[in-house]
Amino acid sequence: MSTRAIVAGCLALAGFTLGMVAYFVLAAPWGFPPDSVAHSNPRVPFAPAIFVLGVMMVFIAAIVYELWPGNGDRR
């Protein structure tokens, strides 16, 4: 496997993991009653922003994959 594929794959995986962790662990917990303070405030401030960052990292991996310098790119 090429370096570019490994780097891009790792970045996508890291982004996906970050998104999942932010969604399930850092954001407001699931539970009842859903409108109580315990279930409405995020456990870590800016957890929603971290989730969005994770989603963005997954797509940045596509740019990294295409732009990563390598051999065989000459016409």
């Binding site: 995020p42 963005m56 797509f59 732009l67």
Partner: protein, 429 residues
């Protein structure tokens, strides 16, 4: 003449005629009027709009702005889905419109975000608190953050990577924008390895974007569909209905945009021909029929078996205050489907008729968005409040028209900087 041997001016880039200047000036003037209207709202608050609290205040807190949030985000649907489907299914007839479709997605998502900001009395506070406190599981978060950040960002990545080859080709010709094209190409040399790599990336992006956009549009539908205490909104059909109407309005927009590109850039006519419009027309017609079916089922269910408030709302839509919007939308959509059927039966598709279909479905989409948002707020209360009233003021109308002009202006200016028709497209006619 091969694509490579053409001058970039042949595809409209850098060519500013009197019509382009006039269009730019008119659109810029309308944007300024919209900005002035927004500054008035920003200074004086939302008292200058027709928006009021529902219930005791007798109004609707969501009106024109939120209707157009739904509309703009809907328009964005078809753009990126067409680009993704062309990639996955190899629909060559639609290849020439992929870039304008992607551009339409990006522009309409940004306009959707601006419409949300226009609806907020304190936009900055709204943005900060959303990213600080929102629940990622909430449909509101999904609508604004996931759509704007995830979906918009994914579309930008797709757009950027898909444009690298044309940027490289453009950078080969001397122009004042050569540095910009080199930057966009970012070292691209159009080698076999790079082309193969781009094929793989766009396939994966297409596979990733399709579920993301269905989720994003469904969440937007769920913002309304999950409101159990709001007759007219609470419906299992909201999410799929939003996805289907988004497809209809977006396809219609692409047909109109493609016709405008043909008009402004005569050289594009050989690329964007009848086969492209035929496919756009067929997709619009089929999705239009599905949406008409959804509407029928929705009205039948709510009108026949719904509780008193639900039935009253259906009466208002069919025969009351909101009937002109409802029937106007239905007639426009039915006409568009009829036009498609007539062309399909004749076996001959005309560009003018498909453009007419595009305009009609967008009239229908705007009417439908208005009657999704407002009637349930003014007349859909389960509590014993008087019926409300909502009439948009000139400020709201000017802001929305200003936003639409801003979108058109961005697309027009972009078409002068970069080929809106991919340079490697095969002629379709």
């Amino acid at each position: 003449m091969s694509v490579q041997s053409r001058s970039y001016r042949d595809i409209g880039v850098g060519r500013w005629g009197p019509l382009s200047f006039l269009s730019t000036a008119v659109l810029a003037a309308v944007v300024v009027v919209g900005a002035v209207a927004y500054s008035r709202q920003f200074i004086h608050g939302e008292i200058v709009t027709g928006l009021r609290d529902w219930g005791t205040a007798g109004g609707a807190p969501w009106g024109l702005y939120i209707s157009f949030v739904v509309y703009f985000i809907g328009v964005s649907f078809a753009g990126i889905s067409i680009a993704a489907l062309v990639r996955l299914l190899r629909i060559t007839a639609l290849e020439p419109v992929t870039r304008m479709a992607e551009l339409l997605t990006i522009v309409s998502l940004v306009l959707g975000a601006f419409s949300v900001l226009a609806d907020l009395g304190q936009p900055l506070r709204g943005i900060t608190n959303l990213f600080r406190y929102a629940r990622p599981q909430s449909p509101f978060f999904g609508t604004f953050s996931l759509v704007m950040a995830g979906y918009l960002f994914a579309s930008l990545v797709y757009f950027y990577l898909a444009g690298r080859r044309d940027a490289y080709l453009m950078a080969q010709q001397p122009s004042r924008l050569q540095a910009f094209y080199r930057w966009w190409a970012a070292g691209y040399r159009d080698s076999a390895a790079e082309r193969a790599r781009h094929e793989r990336t766009s396939f994966l992006l297409a596979v990733a974007i399709l579920p993301l956009l269905v989720t994003a549009h469904s969440t937007l539908g769920l913002v309304f569909g999950l409101m159990g205490g709001r007759p007219g909104w609470f419906s299992a059909l909201q999410a799929p209905g939003f996805v289907v109407l988004a497809g209809v309005s977006g396809l219609g927009h692409i047909a109109v945009l493609a016709a405008l590109v043909r008009w402004f850039i005569p050289e594009a006519r050989e690329r964007i021909g009848v086969p492209t419009f035929r496919l756009l027309g067929i997709f619009t017609m089929v999705l239009g029929m599905v949406y008409l079916y959804f509407t029928l089922i929705e009205v039948l269910t709510a009108g026949y078996a719904g509780h008193a408030q639900e039935q009253e709302l259906v009466r208002l839509l069919l025969l009351g205050t909101y009937a002109p919007y409802f029937w106007g939308g239905i007639v426009a959509l039915a006409l568009a489907v009829g036009l498609g059927l007539a062309q399909g039966l004749r076996g001959r598709w005309s560009i003018g008729a498909v453009v007419a279909m595009g305009i009609l479905v967008n009239i229908a989409a705007i009417a439908k968005r208005l009657i999704i948002v407002t009637p349930s707020l003014t007349h859909g209360s389960l509590l014993p409040y008087e019926d409300g009233v909502y009439v948009p003021t000139w400020v709201e109308v000017a802001i929305i028209i200003g936003l639409m002009s801003l979108g058109a202006l961005v697309i027009l200016v972009f078409s002068k900087l970069f080929p809106v028709v991919p340079l490697d497209s095969e002629p379709t006619s």
